[in-house]
């Protein structure tokens, strides 16, 4: 702020809102082709937006009963109000709902912390290593005076969070092993990892879920039963691992050969070379791709509907069967879509930001 400083260069003037709007309109209407396209777009908007707006806002019912909803032509958001907490907690015992609520709070705090690059160190890993089991204990109870709650009663957004977090937490380390195995010099190891990755990626996730739900119990000794949620997690983890493994393999292949040779010439063993030289670089450059893959995997948590695990989507779908609230599927699906959209869109914006930051020469 001293007077001796040279006067700051005038910042390049940001085009004002009016100027930008003018450019937009100008670009829309330069030339006959663009005018035709713009008119078609405007016609489409005029055809779609007012009826949707009327349905969703003007003629919608915001509170009341199904009866008052049926009197109005618009959307029945009262239904969503009624089912909101059910869609978050499912059939979890009412007086214990603070437990899934605090589990979700832990989850949100951990996820937010994980998005901040300053926190990317071993403390974050340690935090997850503590938080993940803590979340499970909190939900299941049976210790520390918490009443035991069967996984069968878990539901709603909490289960979606559990499946996504555990799938990633267990699948990610496995994916690194699979990716390394696929590039291993040991023939049998390479074949084994390739077979697992290709078989899992070659079949639909729901067939893996069917396998875990129906086939897996047959493979275990008689009398041994594994909780259904654990079996779902097993399938989902395998799926996560196979897809992430291909992303990680991309990173491993992108490493210049010199990195491998330099590590070898230092006399590092295979695991030292991977842990200290190769993996830190390969994993970092693929983080945007990992986030993108995770968005797909997160959307796929909805597939547990086929074996009757009550995740967020399935819980909402089940509430369609409430005899007091028959006939509002569109509202329920729009609400579910909005929730998934907000979460996935946030992740994809985050991944785009990382991609910009990681681009060589970005700083």
């Amino acid at each position: 702020m001293s007077a001796t400083l040279a006067p700051a260069k005038p910042a390049p003037a940001l085009p004002g809102l009016a100027a930008r709007a003018r450019d937009f309109v100008k670009a829309c209407f330069n030339g006959p082709l663009n005018i035709a396209i713009s008119l078609a777009c405007i016609a489409l908007l005029v055809w779609l937006v007012p009826p949707l707006f009327r349905w969703a806002v003007l003629e919608a019912t915001w509170e009341g009963t199904a009866q008052s909803c049926r009197q109005n032509a618009g959307a029945c958001w009262a239904f969503i109000r009624e089912k909101f907490w059910f869609s978050v907690f499912g059939l979890y015992p009412f007086e214990e709902r603070w437990r899934p609520a605090s589990m979700l709070a832990i989850l949100v705090v951990m996820v937010v912390a994980s998005t901040i690059r300053r926190f990317w160190n071993r403390w974050l890993l340690l935090g997850w290593a503590i938080a993940a089991p803590a979340m499970w204990v909190l939900m299941q109870g049976g210790v520390f005076g918490l009443p035991y709650v069967q996984t069968r009663q878990w539901g709603g957004l909490t289960i979606t969070g559990i499946i996504a977090v555990y799938g990633l937490a267990l699948g990610y380390p496995l994916s690194i092993l699979l990716a390394l195995g696929r590039r291993s010099k040991l023939t049998l190891v390479r074949w084994f990892c390739t077979a697992i990755i290709e078989c899992v990626r070659g079949v639909p996730l729901i067939s893996l879920l069917f396998m875990a739900a129906i086939m897996l119990p047959l493979f275990l000794p008689q009398g041994v039963t594994v909780d259904r949620l654990i079996r779902v997690l097993f399938a989902y983890t395998l799926f996560t691992a196979a897809y992430m493994a291909e992303v990680v393999r991309g990173g491993l292949q992108a490493m210049p050969r010199g990195q491998y040779e330099a590590a070898d010439s230092l006399g590092l063993t295979y695991w030292q070379k991977m842990r200290l030289i190769i993996l830190p670089q390969a994993l970092t450059i693929t983080i945007p791709a990992q986030v993108n893959t995770f968005i797909g995997l997160f959307k796929d948590t909805t597939l547990v509907v086929v074996i009757g695990v009550f995740d967020f989507f399935t819980t909402l779908r089940a509430s369609l069967g409430d005899p007091n609230w028959l006939g509002f599927p569109t509202e329920a699906y729009v609400y579910a879509a909005a929730v998934y959209f907000v979460l996935c869109y946030a992740m994809s914006r985050y991944s785009q930001r990382l991609e910009r930051e990681f681009r060589p020469g970005a700083r």
């Binding site: 937009f24 670009a27 829309c28 663009n34 396209i37 713009s38 777009c41 405007i42 489409l44 908007l45 010099k185 040991l186 023939t187 049998l188 190891v189 084994f192 078989c199 990626r201 070659g202 079949v203 639909p204 996730l205 729901i206 067939s207 069917f210 396998m211 129906i214 086939m215 119990p217 047959l218 493979f219 275990l220 000794p221 008689q222 968005i295 959307k299 796929d300 909805t302 597939l303 509907v305 086929v306 989507f313 779908r317 599927p329 569109t330 699906y333 729009v334 579910a336 879509a337 998934y340 959209f341 996935c344 869109y345 994809s348």
Partner: protein, 397 residues
């Protein structure tokens, strides 16, 4: 990596009679042996457990049940099917239903995806924004949700008597979509043959003109004669054999007569898969075209090529190299995603398999069958696409 390669040069390498493996190799062999033993033991354990479990439920492992009568009612089948048919037949009907929706979905999603991808690159900001909004919304919501959404929308459509009629001969009601089709008769066969012949002649014409251009440098457009062929030959066929007749849907009483019906389930599944996959294909197409360096456009323009030919001769061949591999995985995804049919009740392979498991209890066999089928479809698709990819790949020396 064996130590024999380090012997001094010039001397014929004095190899030991039995080459001793290095400690690293030995350790590798040991790990592989351990892995193989673990896999074999685990498989054997699973197999024995499975036999014991099935015996306890009065079941026997084997594929004999495929020959038994299934008793599964299937709403739509391409091949003749009754509930009295065997499980094998029922599963085949399911597989054909999967392939039907996958093939139609891939074709439509490709067309819509390319159109959207080009719209995303348009110079018109309004069109760009609209397409961008579509792509973001569709890509960031789960497919299952979209499928049940479309299914719910279709079931809320007016009844058959008040069916929407957006185009002549096209009816949209809660019973699905009604479309007019050509009657399969000689006139249609003859017209199709005429079209094929016209296409072959056009290709021949193109070849001749290309040879001519190579020889003389003179270029003539084949557009007009080609189009003339495409119109004239079918007209000729119509004049000789008769025009192919339409089977036009008509409202008769409480239902439609004639035409072809897409059931609400098939229609919802196809719609959902196409809209979802097209959004991903659009992004792939956009990225592919943007990956071509700006200098390529400028160089092509400097050569005086017109816009259409810049795209076809310079940009597309390079963009395709980037587009084909991710496009392949989208096709595979669409095929695998068609298994979500089970959620809205379209009788695809997984849906029929699921019913078969509930009825017979032969879970391992049925699940193995449909997993193997999907694996084969995946492998064949990637093989075909890899062949195509090799054809368009960069040829380096």
């Amino acid at each position: 990596m064996s130590s024999t390669s380090t012997t001094s040069a010039g001397m014929p390498a004095a190899k030991p009679l039995i080459p001793l493996p290095s400690p690293t190799t030995l350790r590798g062999l040991m790990w592989q042996a351990l892995l193989a033993a673990a896999v074999v033991l685990l498989g054997w354990w699973f197999y024995n457990n499975m036999l014991a479990n099935m015996a306890a439920r009065g079941l026997q492992f084997g594929f004999g049940f495929l020959g038994r009568s299934a008793g599964i009612p299937i709403g739509e089948a391409i091949i003749p099917y009754t509930p009295a048919d065997t499980y094998q037949r029922a599963l085949t009907v399911g597989l054909l239903n999967t392939l039907r929706v996958a093939v139609a979905g891939i074709a439509l999603a490709t067309i819509l995806g390319i159109a959207l991808g080009l719209a995303r690159l348009s110079s018109n900001p309004l069109l760009r924004a609209l397409t961008g909004g579509y792509i973001e919304v569709i890509r960031n919501t789960p497919l299952v949700l979209q499928l049940v959404f479309w299914h719910a929308i279709i079931l809320q459509l007016p009844s058959v008597r008040q069916a929407l009629n957006p185009l002549p001969g096209v009816f949209l009601s809660q019973r699905g979509l009604k479309l007019p089709v050509f009657l399969a008769d000689e006139a249609l066969a003859s017209a199709l043959l005429a079209l094929l012949a016209a296409a072959i002649l056009w290709i021949g014409l193109l070849r001749r003109e290309a040879a001519r251009q190579a020889a003389t440098g003179e270029r003539r457009s084949t557009l007009l004669p080609g189009l003339a062929l495409l119109v004239a030959l079918p007209l000729l066929s119509a004049a000789l054999v008769g025009a192919p007749a339409w089977d036009w849907p008509e409202l008769a009483g409480f239902n439609f007569q004639g035409g072809v019906t897409l059931s609400p389930e098939f229609f919802a599944l196809l719609l959902g898969l196409v809209i979802y996959t097209a959004a991903f294909i659009a992004e792939i197409v956009r990225a592919g075209i943007q990956s071509v360096h700006k200098g390529q456009w400028e160089a092509a323009r400097a050569l005086g090529l017109p816009g259409g030919r810049i795209m076809r001769l310079v940009i597309l061949p390079q963009a395709l190299r980037v587009i084909i591999p991710p496009l392949t995985s989208q096709y595979l995804n669409l095929t695998k995603n068609s298994s979500l049919a089970v959620v809205i009740g379209y009788p695809d392979l997984v849906s029929v398999s699921n019913t078969s498991i509930n009825q017979t209890g032969q879970a391992v066999e049925v699940i193995s069958i449909f997993m193997a089928v999907y694996l084969i479809i995946s492998l064949v698709t990637s093989l075909l696409m890899n062949l195509y990819n090799r054809a368009v790949a960069l040829k380096e020396r």
